[in-house]
Subunit: 205 residues, 2 copies
Amino acid sequence: MSKQRTVGRPSGRPPDQVRERLMQAARALFARNEFTAVSVKRIAREAGVNGAMIHYYFGDKRGLYLAIAEEVLGPLLEHLSTRAEPEDFIRGYTEALMANPWWPGFLLREVVFGADDFRAEFAARFGERVRSGLLAPIARRIEQGEMRAELDPRLTLLSLIGLVVFPFLARPLASRVLGIELDELGAAALARHTQNLFRHGVSDE
Amino acid sequence: MSKQRTVGRPSGRPPDQVRERLMQAARALFARNEFTAVSVKRIAREAGVNGAMIHYYFGDKRGLYLAIAEEVLGPLLEHLSTRAEPEDFIRGYTEALMANPWWPGFLLREVVFGADDFRAEFAARFGERVRSGLLAPIARRIEQGEMRAELDPRLTLLSLIGLVVFPFLARPLASRVLGIELDELGAAALARHTQNLFRHGVSDE
DNA sequence: GAATTAATTAAACGATCAGTTAATATAGGT
DNA sequence: ACCTATATTAACTGATCGTTTAATTAATTC
């Protein structure tokens, strides 16, 4: 009976494989659980490595958390980097959220419940892009008479974002209470619904 | 120097005052922090009593949590107990959320991150009321031609709820990024905006 | 091939957690 | 006046938390 030796540097492992496994495990856990509800030992266990590796690669637990937060913020900022008409925003973000269903919950936690300093940084990084990329086109179309004149551009943008994001936040309830399965519905159909409701409302007139 | 005696039943304190203080403190803490991030000792400290009182009055931490959850669910269920046209729902819930700004975050956290059993109970208690109180009127109005025929009633209801709730979820960002202060705006103005957008969309035609 | 650096684990650390127990003091009923 | 139920605190318990340290092995450098 030979006790398996596990301690020490392993042989032939490609670099950064452990780091990647840790991020994968953390991503999955933080998507469904609160920060304080996920222990570093659990992340390490599900990644199949020792808990001390988190501190080796990320300094501490928060460092790992910020690393995967950056994974979310990066692509979202990319999406917003160009001016977009509301219709394009609906389409693009519905697809992005459908492909990364763990984003909205993560963002919600940070933005709604997170520490104030993270919110400040988030607002700073997103603010200008949202205003120039989304708010400006809406304001322009109201001025030009393409949208109803009495609309407040800021409230309209808030409604627009809510229409796009909320279904993914309320996903479990949408499924249980209304029987809506976003996956089966598909990004295209959902985006079409949102575009139509945003453009025409429910009115038949 | 006389050491103050604190142990034992206090004199002349009206009953349930400690219980109420605990619920107040827990309400404030759970509104802004995650369940696991709030310790019983901290709740007790902020309520000015000993931590053991939580177990005396509520059995355990979860019992206290459920007690304040019930405070939210009760009134919300009341609101939904009667059939309501979407316009009335928008008005009523916007006012309720404006008066209790900590509700939506609390509820959403349960829905998005909460344990599955809570979600199931929540869905069971809300499901039928939402379907009969809100979904049925929408479906009827689509059938009768008051709303556009191609609308999916379930998706329309999801959009409706999102329009009402999202501004309160995104409150910090709405303030920072868009400069929208919900308090200054007022429930009436916000409800009017939501009603108009829901009814007519943004279209000028 | 010796020395150094990198990667990994096991074990232990001090802090903090939720929850329990025992002691104690008052209130209220008899 | 006495008893019992109620309310409260201090101190404790065992578990778990994030983090650190020491030991160990492989890879790299010289």
